[in-house]
Symmetry: C3
Subunit: 139 residues, 3 copies
C-alpha cells in the first residue's frame, strides 16, 4: 500500500466552471496504483468542486445561471458585506456544493463515467489562484 | 491492509429515491475488514447519492417535492435543452446533492446512524440503469 | 500504514453552526500519521457537515439566514410533519449540504486552508447530542 499527496493550482478568470480532469488524471497516472482511492479537497470557502457533464458547454452556462439566480448578489438581509457583494453569495454557493470528492481508482484509472469531468466552481467575481489538495492511496 | 472494489447497478423506474443500503452492507460484510473506509461514487451527472431517513417513506416524497420546486422543469432561461426538459434540471439537482460518500467502517460494519439509509436520487424522468462504484480499504 | 477510528459528540443548543475543528485536530495530532486521509461522517439526517470561513462570525449568521429562507418551516405541501414543523426542513437542508467530508493530511496536519474551519450544521430547533465518526488512515 502506498500514498501520494500533491497540490494543484487553478488560476480562475473570475466566476465560472473550470475543468481540471486532465491534471488529476496526470497525478493518478504518474503513480503505479492499480486499485485505490483518489481524494480532492478544495482549500477555500468561496469556490467548490463539481463532477459534471463534459460534453455540452451549455451545461456549465446553465449551472452558473441557476446558482446566480438561487443565490443572487444584493440580498438585502445579508450582514457579511465587508469583502464585497459577491463574497457572501460565494460562501453560500460553496455550502450548497461540494468541498471534497472521493473517486475510486480501478485498473490504474479513476472510475469516472463516460461523460463525467472534474471541475472547480469559482464563485467570486475576481480572478483567484485556487489550491486543491490531491491524495491517492492504493496499491 | 486490504482493498476491494466493485460496481453495483441500480435500475431506476424514473425520478425517485431508491434505497440500496443492503447492497452496500453485503459488499462490506463479505470482506473481512474490521476497521476501514467505504467510499461510494456515482458514475453519472443526472443522479446523485443521499444518506437520509429510512423510517418514514414520506421523507422521500417531500425531498422529491422540494427539489421539483427548487429546480423545476421549464425554466425559460435554460440553454441546454437538447436532451429533453428534464435533463438540465437533473444536472442542477445533482450539483446540489452529493456525487461521492465516505462512510467509516468499525467492528466490521458501516457506522450508519440508527435511521440512516443509503439512496440513489434519480433526477431523470425515464428509467435508467445507474452504476455506482464501491471501494473499501481497511484491515 | 495504520488506521484510527473515534466518535466525537457535539451538544447543540438548537439550530446553528458549531465549530469543532480543534476536536478533529486533536484526533489527527494524537496519531503519528505524517501523510494520510481524514474522513468525517455525521450519523444523523437532520444536521450536516460544513467547511466554512472561521474569521467573521457573520458568515455563519448569513448561512443560517439563507437556509432558513430557502427551506422555510411551514411549506404547505409537506407531508412528513409528525416529528414537528422543523423536521422535514431539517432533512431537506441536510440533503443540500454534506454528510461526509474527506480531508487529506500532510506533514502531520489536515491541509485546511488559512480561513477554513470544520462545522456541524444543526438544522433542528431543539438541542441535540450529535455523533460524528472520524476515521484516519495513513503512515
Amino acid at each position: 500500500m502506498q500514498q501520494s499527496f500533491e497540490t494543484v493550482s487553478i488560476d480562475t478568470r473570475g466566476g465560472g466552471i473550470y475543468e481540471f480532469t486532465n491534471k488529476v488524471e496526470q497525478f493518478v497516472g504518474s503513480r503505479s496504483v492499480d486499485t485505490g482511492l483518489l481524494t480532492l479537497f478544495v482549500r477555500h470557502t468561496s469556490c467548490s468542486l463539481l463532477v459534471q457533464e463534459n460534453a455540452d458547454p451549455d451545461v456549465k452556462t446553465d449551472l452558473q445561471g441557476f446558482f446566480a439566480r438561487l443565490v443572487p448578489e444584493g440580498m438585502d438581509w445579508i450582514v457579511h458585506t465587508t469583502e464585497g457583494p459577491d463574497d457572501m453569495p460565494a460562501h453560500i454557493r460553496s455550502a450548497l456544493t461540494q468541498t471534497s470528492l472521493s473517486i475510486p481508482v480501478a485498473d490504474g484509472r479513476m472510475v469516472l463515467g463516460t461523460w463525467q469531468g472534474i471541475y472547480l466552481f469559482e464563485h467570486r467575481r475576481q480572478p483567484h489562484r485556487r489550491s486543491i489538495a490531491m491524495h491517492l492511496i492504493g496499491d
